[in-house]
Structure formats: structure tokens, C-alpha cells
Symmetry: C2
DNA sequence: AATACTAGAACGAACGCTCGTTCTAGTCAA
DNA sequence: TTGACTAGAACGAGCGTTCGTTCTAGTATT
């Protein structure tokens, strides 16, 4: 029981299913992707897919919560590595820009798909934990007097709205250069918008 | 022909179909709305629907281009009524906030649905005419030295990103108060982000 | 070591249902 | 009577899902 036997299959199969699903969903969307497509793309049979997941929605749900958890972990780490609010928020935007370039499917699926259409249970993205944490960070920034005191939602939108807009534009193919190119250009005015300091 | 007879049906039927469709699409999404649903909601029969529109996609396309055209007209008018860039942009945000409250379906459909999934031909929203016009206005603002000179996409994202984020948050039900309440709160930092003047 | 047994992972043909679309019949104004 | 319009039954394709089965590996028994 306690021996280190390598069972090759139980989690690996799930992973294959999940990553194929993320790819297909971000490329074609939930409704244009059939379970057969997932089977074909992942190399896992339909029967096996249904052995591991209750139904198509459960696959989507697993993909989604994996990504949310990963985002949360990353942002939590950023929070602990930086002290000043400005460094924290800047690092968050840098992270979001990087991941948009390296794994566009992730961002595509997180920001750009209407989860409510196929995950009726799930709350909207912007009330998910990572977004809540971002607002938490902004709130701390106000308490520390780094950010002007104002409505929390307003401040968060001002700080991250521009970056998020750049991300969706990039995913739409409206921006040609990689996002990290624009990090400074976006960060300076974003921070200027809410900072207590007049630059 | 030129008499004032009220033919009840020719355009009215199309309008009934289009407005029922907008309502259903924004509530349940394209794929969760069947043509039968549209028939039932609009009070127009399936046969009649297919008499007026080639297929389901054509209905979606008509809804979409109607909205885009309407937006464009509105923004064009704003452009001509205001001279300074700041007034123009502020008025655009005010308009977007108003329409979000009065006809949330419109904004829901324009901003929040993944058109590429069901309108493969259509370019993404942010390269549609209204958005282009908004960028045009920003560009003029830079030439007039009202807005700091920087990448056009960056400036537009900074100016409108926060407002757009507020809109999607409101549509998601994360914000309880009507958007126009926040107009000043959003506008001040948004403008501060890109203005040439240090406030 | 050889055998019998068990658990669960993998498989894909088949099912039933819903969808978009077509078809045929009917209505009404000119 | 004609032609634009309406109606809803009928059709067939494609979907998500189920099910009976086979395959694989680990375990217990001899």
C-alpha cells in the first residue's frame, strides 16, 4: 500500500482530458466543442471521459476551477513578495500580461468566455477569489494611504481596467506586439489615476 | 402605396423577431436559445421567421449590426456636440452608463457575448466602428495636446477601460447602485490617467 | 510460481432527444 | 388569381449520454 508504485493512469488521463478541453474551449467555445472532439483531441475515449467526469459541464467546471485556483495561488504569492501596493499591482499586471502571451488559452477562457452560459452555478469571474484578492490589495493600499480613498470597485476598475482591456484586445488580435512591451506604458497612467501622489 | 394604410406586418414582424432575440440572447445566450424559443417569445411562427431571415445566424447578425449602428450614431452625435476631448469622452461614458441601466440587454449583448462563437465572420467588437470612433476621438485629443502622447491603444484602454470594467461588473450584479451614480468617481481618475494637465 | 478473482479504467456502438431547417398547406390583401 | 406572408408538422443531422463489454494490474489462494 505504502510502496512507491507508479500507477500511470489515474491522474494523467484526467490531465489529458482537461488540457485538451481548455484548448478546444478557448479556440471554439463550449458549445462548438463536442465530447467527441475532446475524446479525439485528448486521445481518450468517450467512455473513459465519462468514467472520469459526470458530464460535459463537469469537465468545464474542473477546467475553470483549476485555472481560478492557479490564478489565486500566483496572486497570493505576488502579494507576499511585495510590500507596497504599487509594486503588488504592477506585478499582478505583469503576470497577467505574461500569461496572456505564454498561455493565451488560459486568459481566453478566464476572461473572455461567458461562463454563465454553460456553468450556471458558478458566480461570475469578477467575484471569484483572485479578483476578490486583487480588490483586497487595493483596499489595503487605501488604508496605507498609497491610493486615494474612494469606492473600492471604482479604484479597482481604474487600476486594472486598462490592463484587462489591453489583454482582451490582444486576444482579439487588435494588438500585434506582445503585451509585456506595454507594461510600463500601461502601468504609469493606471497608477497615476489612483495614486495619492501627484506625479 | 402612398396612402396611410397601416400594414401591420412587414417591418413590425422583423422588429418583433429582433427584439425578442436580443432579449433571449442576452438572458440565455445564443446557444441556449432555440429558434422555437424565438418564435414563442416574439409571437411569430417558425415558418415566418425563416421567411424573413435566412437562418439563425442571420438573426444574430441583424441584431448585432443594428446595435453597432445605433452605438455609432450615438457616439457620432456626441462627437459633434462637444469640442473638447474631455467633454466628448465623458459624454461617451455617461451614455454607456445610461444605456447599461436602461437597456442592459443591449450592453450585455454588445460587450459580454463572445460573438466569434456564433458570428465567425464578424470582426471582434473592439474593432467595430463605434470603438474605432472612440479611438479616433482619443487620437484627436492627443493632437490637440489634451491627452499625453502615447500609444493609441494604451491611451484608449486607460481612458475607457475603467468605465467598461464598471459596466461588466454591473451586468454581473457585483455592483448594486446604478452606474450613473459613479460617473464622476470614474471619470476623474480616468481622465487624470491620460490628461496632459496635472490635477 | 501458478491460478483465480476483483476493481476499476478504457472502449465505442447505440440510443433518444433536441435542434436548425424545410415543406406543404393555408390566409389575406390587391 | 396571384403573391407575399403565416403557420406548424415533419425531417434528418448531431449532440450528450449510456451501456455492455474488454483490458489491465494488483491481490489472494494454492
Amino acid at each position: 500500500m505504502d510502496s512507491a508504485i507508479n500507477k500511470q493512469t489515474p491522474l494523467m488521463t484526467q490531465q489529458k482530458i482537461l488540457s485538451a478541453t481548455l484548448m478546444l474551449f478557448s479556440k471554439k467555445g463550449y458549445f462548438n466543442t463536442s465530447v467527441r472532439d475532446i475524446a479525439h483531441e485528448s486521445g481518450v475515449s468517450i467512455g473513459s471521459i465519462y468514467h472520469h467526469f459526470k458530464d460535459k459541464e463537469a469537465i468545464a467546471s474542473a477546467v475553470y476551477s483549476n485555472l481560478v485556483e492557479r490564478m489565486l495561488a500566483e496572486i497570493t504569492q505576488i502579494q507576499s513578495k511585495h510590500i507596497r501596493t504599487s509594486s503588488r499591482c504592477r506585478a499582478i499586471i505583469a503576470f497577467l500580461f505574461d500569461i496572456t502571451e505564454q498561455e493565451p488559452e488560459v486568459m481566453e477562457f478566464m476572461l473572455y468566455s461567458k461562463h454563465r452560459e454553460f456553468l450556471p452555478e458558478e458566480p461570475p469571474v469578477c467575484s471569484s477569489k483572485p479578483f476578490e484578492l486583487m480588490r483586497e490589495i487595493v483596499k489595503d493600499g487605501m488604508l496605507a494611504n498609497e491610493i486615494q480613498s474612494m469606492d473600492l470597485m471604482v479604484a479597482s476598475s481604474c487600476l486594472f481596467g486598462a490592463a484587462l482591456r489591453m489583454i482582451t484586445s490582444r486576444l482579439d488580435g487588435v494588438i500585434e506586439k506582445p503585451l509585456p512591451t506595454y507594461l510600463e506604458a500601461i502601468w504609469t497612467p493606471s497608477w497615476r489615476a489612483v495614486s495619492t501622489q501627484t506625479l
